[in-house]
Symmetry: C2
């Protein structure tokens, strides 16, 4: 059954508008009587029957609701150093499929791409769209939120109190990710700090340790690109706590 | 220090030719006396000093040799259903960084892209080049080998005897990857079968179970794209055996 993001949810019906309505009508060519799935980012999923198709709206009668166990139970955030557009985009797409809770784009010393002002807002909106599309495709019922582009000093208040920080770092030789996770509590959020292309400056790793209490960890002896490290670390953390 | 793939290895010297020679001379503009690292896919790594730069060759005197512990100890292969060019290319690039031993492109029932004859050979050569470049970038000393495009019937003899087969499958509800790995022996190769876009046909999963003794496993409740599943499964297997 096709899945749609609900524009408006009522007691016995939901409505699809904008691109969701157009996709249903023009691309999938569904008609009244067809069944669809709708989700509203609350964690619920609704099975509906198309009642009425109008120029700007599709009305669906709700015939059942469900709370599918599809979201990760551990809440894992990626904090990703600004990298060239395409790499960030696929970290967001794949990270969403894998089950990240959200992503914060971070300005770092080696970030080639610098985003400011309205350009930054536009880019975040585009990244959110990628996360929304990947959520639909992967059958998630809560879209990851892409935060505003931020700086190191903003990080402490950007994530919930009690967040546990990890920073994969190629100069870290001893501490492996898996052994660090022994000390982590899956009841509290976990944030993974990932450098831009070229990685973090040593001073940034020190800052993460001192100001965020981050654990620096090794992802092994092979040098991983930033985007590969992001998805490998996310996979290992979610896998460690049984979420993949 | 810059790393180069050795064209010819002697007792006390190695030679770089072709693109390696050109990259050293034209891009990096190194000169006699500069130190470089060379590897020859044997697992060894050599530190050399540039002795002589000629039109078609660079001669380096070996000043030390090393056997770096950079390769994964568990030998993990990806067997990937043919997918559109770009997806296969990044599975090869990222899979190489993560530490796969090799990749076999597999013709599957839902493979949109069908490669035959010389077109298939050209594509495999291009994929091997991507694996070579990613090996250099990730500091590997053995490049993963990209096999010829093959069919299901070819698989048993394509990989060593004793290979243990895994097939992530979205219809598999009970068996998680991690629990299946309890029964796997890291001393023997592990092959991960990954579908094309759209996944495997049920009949292909049955065939993998019956003819290869493959264990079908779940990667969790979220639907992963083929390329995401490939890298997540590779990461989990290498991570499980301490190789990431």
């Amino acid at each position: 059954m096709n899945r749609f993001k609900i524009t408006e949810l009522g007691k016995n019906a939901f409505w699809l508008r904008g691109t969701e309505r157009d996709h249903l009508v023009r691309v999938l060519r569904l008609t009244p009587g067809d069944k669809v799935l709708g989700y509203d980012n609350s964690g619920m999923e609704y099975t509906g029957v198309i009642l009425k198709i109008e120029d700007k709206s599709v009305t669906c009668r709700i015939i059942s609701s469900d709370h599918p166990d599809v979201e990760a139970h551990t809440s894992v955030f990626l904090v990703a150093g600004l990298s060239k557009g395409e790499k960030m985009e696929w970290v967001i797409q794949k990270g969403t499929e894998l089950g990240m809770q959200g992503l914060l784009p971070l300005r770092t010393q080696r970030s080639v791409m610098q985003l400011e002002g309205s350009k930054a807002l536009d880019r975040v909106a585009r990244w959110q769209k990628i996360a929304s599309e990947a959520s639909k495709q992967s059958h998630r019922v809560r879209e990851p939120q892409i935060g505003e582009v931020c700086d190191w000093r903003d990080l402490p208040e950007k994530l919930p109190a009690g967040t546990q920080w990890l920073i994969p770092y190629e100069e870290e030789r001893t501490q492996r990710l898996a052994s660090a996770l022994n000390d982590f509590d899956p009841e509290y959020p976990i944030a993974i700090l990932i450098g831009p292309e070229g990685g973090f400056e040593a001073a940034e790793v020190v800052r993460a340790r001192e100001e965020l209490g981050a654990r620096s960890v090794s992802l092994g002896p092979r040098i991983l690109r930033a985007e590969t490290a992001a998805l490998a670390a996310l996979t290992l953390v979610l896998g460690y706590f049984g979420d993949i």
